[in-house]
Amino acid sequence: MAQIKTAGLSTVYPNGVRAVDALDLEIADGEFFALLGPSGCGKTTLLRTIAGLEQASEGTVTIGDKDMTATDPGRRKVAMVFQDYALFPHMTVAENIAYPLKVRRHPKPRQREVAERTAASLSLGGLLERRPGQLSGGQQQRVALARAVAVDADVLLLDEPLSNLDARLRLEARTFLKRLQKELGITTVFVTHDQAEALALADRIAVMESGRIRQLGTPREVFGRPADTFVANFIGSTPMNLLDGTVTDRGLAVAGAILPSPTDLPDNTMVTVGVRPEYLALEPGGQGITGTVSTVENLGVSSLVTLECPDGSLLGLTVREQHEPAIGSEVTAAPDPGRVLLYDKESGALLSS
């Protein structure tokens, strides 16, 4: 078991792209840590640099107490599950799981014993003699996990572990993965572009963009108080409302309404107002933003209602099923107290309240 530390870590590709840019990061022992971001943000490169598959251009990677920056991947005591699982097609499930032991020249019976034990704990018991090509996607994913945990690695690295599964299986595998990680208590870093996956699994999330970390925090922090408009846009299954607003002496002027100002910014400061659709509620006659209902999208247990405000901006809010307003009706939506966030109009950074 070990913590991971990077200091001033940069990975620059031969074409000059700084995929990882001067990153300082500390991942605690036993933590389940997510690297989240859009494709090309450098999250996979960071993972591969921790694994040693990419060479760090500057800075250091420390695993446990040892500086591993120049160490071969095979000597870092890390295990990795690849996005395509990389199960060897010519080996059986048992041989795949035992491969790390074969490399270390453990005797055959010991290899077999570990493969059987690991397979059993990942409910792969009856599949030991099959080949990867004969398994379902979910089974393949579990074999890849089994191979990764068959040896006692200090760190488990997962590259988009759920992205190759179909939607229904993904939920099942997600729960399984979370339970497995808690049972093993192994420091785990996983890469994903799916914010829901990161929120559901991780103890902490690093949201990345262009090789840098935009926000580092618990799922609650990242969802509830995005550090900037990029994160605000990226997190949440329904996008956060980001509207132009102005701080006035009467309060916050936004979308033709005046809301209580959450900060004591100087008057006439132009800001971006962010509020999640989930934190808005219909409040007939209350203090809030008034608009005409233009569309209602059914999300199952709730609906996403889009209001068109007098100044032309659009505001989304979720309402519980069977509470949807009629299309064309005029309604008022009020934010939950403390849920209105203000962002700097220029930099997009959160203005602390």
């Binding site: 694994a51 991947p73 060897f88 490399v103």
Partner: protein, 273 residues
């Protein structure tokens, strides 16, 4: 409407009948003459016998030349496969400086420097090195000619193997040697089998180079002996030629069937056979 349809059907059938006749007629002889008691040049229903087979086995050079072919082609095949596999793997996986230029030049070489265009310098070189009549020397010349194309076919195969296989093995601590033996070679097996068959068949059919470089009848492969048999002063030996051509052709056909059955007929644009 129906008349055009009928005419079209007739035209279609006639076209295929002509095509089938055109392609089949020259080959039928290969099936009938070896087993005819009085084989001639024309096609006829054979008067079945196996005497020609016995006569061929008694011919002083027929079997030796087939053995020579095996030695020559086996050697050329092994050299081509091993060297091409190593080169293709390294070129596919490692950014060696100048790699793209090298690949471009190789691709050019594979089609520009043909045996016919280079026969004079190759002959002169082997002559001056005293390697005329050397089977090993000839095998190396043949291998050299096949290598660029072989490297390309194999590089295609290796490029299609996901790197994550090797990376995964690497993270688990496998050495480059272990990665090669445990992962790369088994996964690249279809590609290697293709090159084994392809290079063997190419060398087996090659006439010009052994014809130029192996002047002594005891070291000549079947391709050259075949020519010698029917060029012997106009008196072609018709008891031996048919059986011998059949024996000489069978390995090629069998290997093709094997590859297309086992791995599916993969079409490598630009590469003959």
């Amino acid at each position: 409407m129906t008349t055009t349809l009928v005419l079209r059907r007739i035209g279609y059938s006639a076209f295929f009948a002509v095509i089938l006749a055109f392609f089949a007629i020259p080959m039928l002889w290969l099936a009938s003459a070896p087993f005819d008691s009085r084989p001639g040049l024309g096609l006829r229903w054979p008067d079945w016998t196996l005497d020609n087979v016995a006569a061929t086995f008694d011919h002083p050079y027929a079997l030796t030349s087939l053995v020579n072919s095996l030695v020559l082609c086996g050697l050329a095949m092994v050299v081509t496969t091993v060297l091409a596999a190593c080169a293709a793997y390294a070129l596919s996986r490692v950014r060696i400086p100048g790699r793209d230029v090298l690949l471009y030049v190789l691709l050019l070489l594979s089609s520009v420097v043909t045996g016919t265009a280079a026969m004079v310098p190759i002959f002169v070189m082997m002559y001056q090195l005293g390697l005329i009549n050397s089977q090993y020397g000839t095998a190396l010349v043949i291998a050299g000619g096949m290598l660029p194309a072989a490297i390309f076919i194999l590089k295609d195969f290796v490029d299609a193997v996901p790197r994550s296989y090797e990376e995964s093995a690497r993270v688990f601590g496998a050495s480059p040697r272990q990665i090669l033996l445990h992962v790369v070679l088994p996964i690249a097996r279809p590609g290697i089998a293709t090159i084994v068959v392809w290079s063997f068949v190419q060398a087996w059919g090659n006439f010009l180079l052994p014809f130029l470089l192996l002047r002594d009848i005891t070291s000549q492969p079947a391709a050259v002996l075949m020519r010698t048999l029917y060029d012997e002063g106009g008196s072609a030996n018709l008891t031996v030629i048919p059986v011998f051509s059949l024996l000489y052709s069978i390995p090629v056909v069998v290997l093709y069937l094997f590859v297309s059955r086992r791995y599916g007929f993969r079409f490598h644009g630009g590469i003959k056979s």
